[in-house]
């Protein structure tokens, strides 16, 4: 797999560290146990497109929001995670 970092261009996936589902950007308000149980542990785990968080650890260190097909490993879209969280894109 090659991931196109918005800052660094197309790079080998070895340069990136995978964190998990991009739902981790949506931290719940308040302190309800049910909300945090869902946030920390429950996953959609789809077979097709999955929105994920990757960090370009061996490059610019940016956190990326990556849309990837988990059956074909095709990378469909890459954005800066901060832009997605702030609703800029």
């Amino acid at each position: 797999m090659r991931i196109t970092c918005p800052y660094c261009g197309a790079r080998d996936s070895r340069e990136f560290e995978y964190l998990g589902s991009a739902k981790l950007l949506e931290r719940p308000e308040g302190d309800a146990v049910a909300d945090f149980h869902d946030y920390v542990y429950l996953r959609e785990n789809p077979t097709g497109e999955n929105a994920e968080l990757w960090q370009h650890v061996l490059g610019c260190s940016a956190w990326l929001h990556v849309l990837r097909n988990v059956t074909t490993h095709e990378i469909l879209d890459v954005k800066l995670a901060s832009d997605v969280r702030e609703g800029k894109v």
């Binding site: 589902s21 146990v33 149980h37 996953r43 785990n45 999955n50 988990v70």
Partner: protein, 416 residues
């Protein structure tokens, strides 16, 4: 037919024409008392123990593909009981005891070979960790031998003891660990279940559940609707999709784990060895191939194939540990899809749907659990209560905080 030396002799002398198919290929009935989804090792052993231990006679196992074609035929065949935490300890201990009697139990040669399982340490911290783990195993009644560097050298002299980065500090040997023939385990349980009247229905994919008033009534399948009093899900790798059809979301991500085998060579590795750095483990199959594997590819995947970085990683770790394997040519590599749970431990529990039960989240440890997982799941489905040796694999433990994080890595499936 019961297998025996006499049968082999008789059939050997008569052109081997007396062997019959060992399980039937029945049409699905309209309904069953119990339906197990998934004809892998766990589903088959669940059906076997439901029939044998609990007298349930009206059981179907629904398999999307063919018996033995899933993860039970893709794993690296290792059997061991050297976990660390209560909950896991007593479960794998019980499973190993079942393994030791499995051939007599099933009248089937599963080729269990208790050739030992050695975990290596490369620094003082790791060695202390192994001592702690060994003590936990001894306290559970399992076998554990803490070995210093020279003991390890006497046991497996062909390792690279003086690697500049990862010199071998010592190891923890479980002599009762080893390997078993994975296909034979599936076939043995399939035959044992069939002999007790269990219908093994292949090429039958479950496409939905019929649920009314919070209770499961049956399953829609590619071969028509099948009614059921109770339904058990045992579908490693696809647990999230099957559970989703019942309206559930689970603490599971699916990841790909690769494994590798070299061309067959003469006997050289007579035990199972786990490198303590970079996660690499190796054994030699009875056919002579060196079977080895490493970490999962570390991102969600349903591809049943991995990518080159993990192939290189496993090969590099192997070369660092035992440079001699560089002379062997790699024959094949393959990938299987793992239910990676959020704490690294499995789930054997009821679900919010009455009559629907879940066995999943085995990460890459499902094969060694095959006998005990089946027995525990059968116990749960038959009695409604948890077996004593599998009482902590609760679905709600992520909500209550009773996690079984053997690796201590938190809610990061790709770190387990």
């Amino acid at each position: 037919m019961r297998y025996s030396a006499l049968q082999i002799l008789k059939n050997g002398l008569t052109g081997n024409k007396g062997w019959k198919p060992v399980w039937r290929d029945p049409e699905p009935k309209k309904s069953y008392e119990v339906v197990i989804i998934g004809g892998g090792g766990h589903g088959l052993s669940t059906a076997y123990y439901l029939a044998k231990n609990y007298g349930v006679r009206n059981i179907a196992v629904l398999e999307k593909g063919y018996i033995g074609g899933g993860n039970v035929g893709r794993n690296t065949t290792i059997v061991r009981a050297n976990y660390l935490l209560d909950g896991n300890l007593e479960f794998y201990s019980h499973s190993l005891k079942l393994w030791e009697n499995l051939e007599a139990e099933l009248n089937y040669n599963v080729m269990l070979s208790q050739r030992g399982c050695l975990l290596l340490a490369h620094d003082d911290g790791q060695f202390d960790g192994l001592a702690r783990r060994g003590n936990a195993n001894l306290a559970t009644g399992d076998d554990a031998v803490l070995m210093g560097r020279e003991d390890v050298r006497n046991f497996v002299p062909y390792l690279n003891f003086d690697d500049a980065r990862f010199p071998i500090r010592g190891g923890l040997l479980q002599r009762t660990g080893g390997t078993a023939r994975h296909d034979a385990v599936a076939w043995g349980y399939a035959r044992g279940a069939d002999m007790q009247g269990v219908d093994l229905i292949q090429n039958c994919e479950v496409t939905g559940f019929k649920i009314a008033g919070g209770k499961v009534l049956g399953v829609e399948t590619s071969r028509g609707y099948i009614g059921a009093g109770k339904v058990g899900m045992s579908v490693a790798g696809r647990t999230s999709q099957v559970a989703e059809m019942a309206g559930m979301r689970l603490p599971i991500e699916s990841h790909v784990l690769q494994a590798f085998v070299t061309e067959a060579v003469k006997p050289v590795i007579d035990t199972v060895i786990s490198f303590g750095m970079g996660h690499f483990y190796i054994s030699q199959s009875d056919k002579g191939g060196l079977v080895f594997g490493g970490d999962i590819d570390a991102y969600n995947s349903y591809a049943q194939r991995g990518n080159l970085p993990m192939v290189e990683h496993a090969a590099e770790a192997g070369m660092a540990l035992m440079p001699m394997i560089g002379k062997a040519r790699m024959l094949r590599s393959w990938g299987g899809i793992m239910d990676m749970s959020m704490d690294g431990a499995p789930i054997i529990d009821k679900t919010p749907v009455d009559g629907l039960f879940l066995n999943g989240g085995w990460c890459y440890g499902g094969f060694k659990a095959t006998p005990a997982a089946g027995e525990a799941f059968a116990h749960l489905m038959a009695t409604g209560s948890k077996a004593e040796f599998a009482s902590k694999f609760n679905l709600n433990r992520f909500e209550t905080g009773h996690l079984l994080d053997d690796e201590g890595t938190g809610a990061r499936p790709n770190k387990h």
